[in-house]
């Protein structure tokens, strides 16, 4: 090798060394999180959690928050022993293998009795083909692990259905708006009922009547939006309606027509009142119809809010 060739080779090696990103030489840090619970499943706050790297012996400590959650970031890939101790509650320990850059969860249950055996080997990675479907893979420490196919589930039962999930997402989104709009509608509805006390009867002034009409109109508009989100929410095929939602829907057959009838009767009563007449005929039903409508609306709201 002549001098020029040697200089060229040295230069190439030097450039490679200078351009090497020291970060790429290391593994991306992993994060371990989870919960600490007592033997009855209750979260244990302020539990001391120790995460020991079994190859380096380095121990990182964390403490659970009020919800019993702990998080230990910036851990190197490798095997760890995780333990938690709370005086008077018990201890818990487990082994876990962290892959580079992974975010793994490990939840510990504290018990007072000594552990009966060593923690099991890290479990098998889930199958990539079936959602949520673990199977005996090449990395498995045993060839005897059963699979979902062994349990006799059909493919349609275990297969992912993204279209159905999208439909459920849309349904939930629309019903959330329905729920919020229903709550918002309650405010002008109550105000309309309250202002009705001064809107009719022997009162000759128009101000309170106008306020009652304005609030009633606002209630009607908001109710319409609320109803639209419930009616337009996608139906999920093959779902049998059970529980309080049946009552909630049944109430809609009362407050729905009521919300149409009430303003019509109200407009008739308003007109009669403005002409100096006593409210009479079918318009006299405005008050009772409005009360039944408001009551049905309230019952519908409570039926899905409180457990009877």
């Amino acid at each position: 090798m002549n001098l020029k060739a040697a200089q060229f080779a040295f230069g190439v090696v030097l450039i490679c060394l200078l351009n090497a990103d020291p970060l790429h030489a290391q593994d991306a840090p992993a994060t371990l999180s989870g919960t600490v619970a007592d033997s009855s499943g209750r979260a244990v706050p302020n539990a001391k959690v120790s995460v020991k790297n079994l190859s380096s012996g380095l121990t990182t400590e964390a403490q659970t928050d009020a919800a019993g959650l702990y998080t230990v970031p910036n851990l190197a890939a490798g095997d760890y022993e995780v333990s938690a101790t709370v005086e008077g509650v018990g201890t818990g320990a487990a082994k876990v293998t962290l892959a580079a850059g992974s975010q793994q969860t490990l939840s510990l249950t504290l018990t007072t009795a000594p552990a009966q055996r060593e923690p099991a080997a890290p479990p098998v990675a889930p199958s990539e083909n079936l959602p949520n479907a673990p199977s005996a893979s090449a990395s498995s420490s045993s060839k005897t692990e059963p699979s979902l196919e062994d349990l006799g589930f059909s493919k349609t039962e275990t297969q992912s259905n993204a279209a159905q999930q999208a439909l459920l997402d849309k349904r939930t989104h629309m019903l959330k708006i329905h729920q919020r709009m229903g709550l918002i509608t309650t405010i002008p509805l109550i105000a309309t009922v309250i202002t009705s006390l001064n809107a009719g009867g022997k009162s000759e002034g128009t101000a309170s009547r106008d306020l009652h009409v304005a609030l009633g109109a606002l209630t009607g508009d908001l109710y319409g939006i609320t109803a639209w989100y419930a009616i337009r929410a996608p139906r999920i095929a093959g779902t049998e309606t059970r529980g309080p939602i049946r009552f909630h829907r049944a109430m809609a057959w009362i407050h729905g027509p009521g919300m149409i009838l009430t303003p019509i009767l109200g407009a008739m009563a308003f007109s009669q009142k403005n002409n100096g007449e006593k409210v009479h005929g079918i318009a006299a039903a405005h008050g009772p119809v409005a009360i039944v409508t408001a009551a049905a609306f309230g019952a519908a709201l409570l039926s899905v809010s409180l457990k009877f």
Partner: protein
């Protein structure tokens, strides 16, 4: 000569198959999740779990699986909402894996590590205690898995803008019998 070497190799080579010592089958089960809300305490129940345990060389590998949609809380609207938040159409099965020594079947209590796959996430629960009761050939197992919503990266569902508690412990009652 080549044939003889090949035949000898095949005779001496370890078998790629395996023979399970025995099997356990899940006969009956009741899985109940509990959700706490300031206005509600809700339990969702499923009896649709299937399970199998394969024992080999003193160790038994168990798999229990249950379709997410089979949990019934008594309200179809809430059940559909639970399926949505847990991405139950995308990840329709909940699976639990565990490994126990064969000798554990004669104990009255056992603590075991569980691998739970749910909502597209895998969570590990260490040393979860279970009680065992022998009833003839059958073994009845009961215990509570201390699952939380954050374990599976599930956003807490809310009612009237109030979210449910993070803890959703799952009560497990199963009857296993050897096959």
């Amino acid at each position: 000569m080549t044939f003889k070497i090949l035949a000898l190799f095949l005779l001496l080579a370890p078998s790629h198959g395996f023979a399970a010592d025995h099997l356990w089958v899940l006969k009956q089960s009741t899985l109940t999740y509990h959700v706490s809300h300031p206005l509600h305490q809700t339990d969702g129940v499923s009896h649709a779990a299937r399970g199998k345990g394969i024992c080999h060389e003193g160790q038994c590998d168990f798999l229990i699986a249950v379709p997410v949609k089979t949990f019934d809380s008594g309200d179809s609207n809430r059940d559909l909402h639970m399926i949505q938040v847990t991405r139950g159409a995308e990840f329709p099965m909940v699976t639990v894996r565990t490994r126990l020594p064969e000798a554990a079947s004669t104990a009255t209590t056992v603590k075991t590590d569980l691998e739970v796959q749910f909502a597209g996430q895998t969570a590990h629960y260490a040393q979860v205690p279970f009680e065992l009761v022998k009833q003839g050939d059958e073994t009845r197992i009961s215990g509570t898995i201390p699952t939380t919503l954050t374990d599976f990266k599930i956003d807490p569902p809310s009612l009237l803008t109030l979210p449910v508690k993070n803890e959703i412990p799952v009560r497990v009652e199963m009857t296993w019998s050897p096959q």
